[in-house]
Amino acid sequence: MKPAAFDYHAPGDADEAVALLAELGDEARPIAGGQSLMPMLALRLALPEHLVDLGRAEGLRGIEERGDSVWIGATTTQRTIERSAAVARAVPLLARATPLIGHFQIRNRGTLGGSLAHADAAAEYPAVAVALDARFETLSPRGARTVPATEFSTGVYSTDLEPDELLTGAVFPVWSGRCGFAIEEFTRRSGDFAVAGAAVAVELDAGSCVSRCGIGLFGLGSTPLRATAAEAAATGSPSGDVTPEDVGRTAMAELESVPADLHASAGYRRHIGAAVVARAWHRAVQEAAHA
């Protein structure tokens, strides 16, 4: 189980990296922490001719609080995020999602950008990003652009990124006010990818009505999903009138195609999905109510 041969490039910054990607074309793949790509290389499921290692690229790493949002560089490790007081304070949902990613040895190398750009539909970070309305920053030889998280994933392991375009960072809006956050997932074992999961952010107004909410689903489609119908049904209602089970049911009702594998049929995934949405909703509302 050894990777096939490739050429290795270690650009010094993002501009150099995208220039390399443009020059090398389809046969090049960026690599950051490599915690998803390396197994695919070892299994020879991915056979790039060139690897562009972002590990030494300047300007892609760090956590910055920018007023009503937090910017996190793409090559910031999950471990850094896990240890960040700023993230815990300003983006609690992201902080709580992080320990659920793999094991601590994986999080020591795995990066935010790698997780988002790998776009595993069962991963935590993409779902957190869609739930919070995060924005992704990208760079290509044609310049920088911003993509809403909800538009980033386009299918199974595929994204809106062009072959010569890099994810450079993500901007997470800070939800202030009476907010609550919860992430619930069901895994077969500690550290596994989720059979199904839900990341929920809820904001209540002074009268305890749901003024805003985001429900990100993972493991329940070919991309991370936003449970828009469930959100719409809940928004504007007094939080006490919204039963978590209804939120779960509504979230599942709007799903078109749910994946199936050895560990879970589509029907069972929906069943679990409804349960994790309900549990996450309940906890998020509880937290908001006591905020």
């Binding site: 490599g34 915690q35 197994p39």
Partner: protein
């Protein structure tokens, strides 16, 4: 596919080597440095047998290329014992509590637990289990390993508070 020159420190010894880009760090340590204590149990990042410390942090040596380790300081299981060669307190706890049987997963556990207890010197049982869940063992049923970590935490220099 040109080879690349790297410099790194492994167990306090400086290495300079020319490596193929595809050479994993695990294979570099085993085959080029002769440090065969780092074991390959799955080569896809799940079993944890190849766990080493890179700049102090526990990582899978099968999920890094040697070229990515250029400029780092690495500790393998061979570098964990006390300077005089005595077992480290964690290694000793594994021995005292029957925390190993065949010994194949052991190096990855020793390195992982070394980092885990440094960061979390007074863990709960749940934290211990979660901390160990990235290392698979087929012999011990984890019983002796969990007992060893509990015991090592009790005697950990920063855990006595």
């Amino acid at each position: 596919m040109p080879d690349i020159e790297i410099r790194l420190t492994v167990n306090d010894r400086a290495w300079r080597a020319t490596v193929a880009p595809r050479l994993t760090l695990a294979d570099f340590l085993r085959e080029r440095c002769g440090l065969t204590g780092t074991h390959l149990g799955c080569e896809h990042g799940v079993c944890g047998a190849c766990t080493i410390l890179v700049d102090g942090e526990a990582v899978r040596a099968c999920l890094m290329f040697a070229v990515q380790a250029d400029g780092t300081r690495i500790t393998t299981v061979e570098g964990i014992a006390e300077p005089g060669g005595d077992l480290s307190p964690i290694q000793a706890a594994f021995r005292d509590h029957h925390g190993l049987q065949c010994g194949f997963c052991t190096p990855g556990l020793i390195t992982s637990v070394t980092a885990f207890l440094r960061d979390n010197p007074d863990p709960t049982d749940d934290e211990i289990r979660t901390g160990l869940s990235g290392n698979l063992c087929r012999c011990t049923g984890y019983q002796g390993i969990i007992a060893a970590v509990r015991a090592a935490a009790r005697t950990h220099p920063s855990g006595k508070r």
